[in-house]
Point group: C2
Chain length 138, copies 2
């Protein structure tokens, strides 16, 4: 039985080396509504939301000395897709089910609270087509 059922794509997160340049691309060149930057110190990122008609893009820039984005940008200095976030109803149950089926969840415990104030888990990219997946609960 599959109890993990992903629903909406919540967002695509793109790590960028220069946030104001990235805002120019999405607001100026591509004509999108883009939020003001928000510093999320506990997540080590400064974030900007780009509104699309059916989902959103999050532009991430490292904040502080221990940012999870820093290492990514060392490997890909021009930026790139950092993760994709899918919504599930119950993120804790989804995590347990995935582990039971042999997939790996990153970290060592229950979901933590993500950038949107909701519980999230990250999945091991090697078990999911080479992409870092964030699951966000309701």
């Amino acid at each position: 039985m599959v109890s993990t059922k992903i629903g909406r794509l919540n967002h695509i997160a793109i790590a960028v080396p220069d946030l104001s340049e990235a805002v120019k691309v999405y607001r100026g060149l591509l004509g999108c509504i883009v939020s003001e930057p928000m510093a999320l110190a506990e997540h080590g990122v400064t974030i900007v939301f780009v509104e699309l008609d059916n989902t959103k893009i999050e532009l991430l820039h490292p904040l502080g000395s221990d940012s999870p984005i820093e290492k990514f940008l060392q490997k890909r200095p021009g930026g790139g897709v950092h993760h994709i976030c899918y919504e599930v109803e119950d993120v804790e149950a989804a995590g347990r089910q995935l582990v039971q089926e042999g997939a790996r969840v990153l970290g060592d415990g229950p979901p933590r609270i993500g950038a949107h104030g909701k519980p999230v888990l990250f999945l091991e990219p090697r078990d999911f087509c080479g992409t870092l997946i964030e699951l966000e609960g309701a």
Copy 2:
């Protein structure tokens, strides 16, 4: 004046080294509705659609000896996000406008017909946050 205005995220394309394993991940582990594989010889890919509630994921696997996905997988053997596709009303006008504003469009001419039978253009990743963007017209 901005005439390029992207609307919906049409799809995220993920290049995968093993299509049947990738289908198992999205259908079996993540509980999605996944199409049967379609061979698109003129695009050099075999493709599978994953339905999400608000958009779709396309899983791409190389087809033939000159596939654009082959080189990507040589660099990222485990797979990864290959491109993201945004919808625009008029892809030809959007391409002209982007070039006028100094951004680069890949290829050397008018839009070609993409995998969905609609006109598409690809944008130079170095001008768009390190991501390969496909623009799909109406």
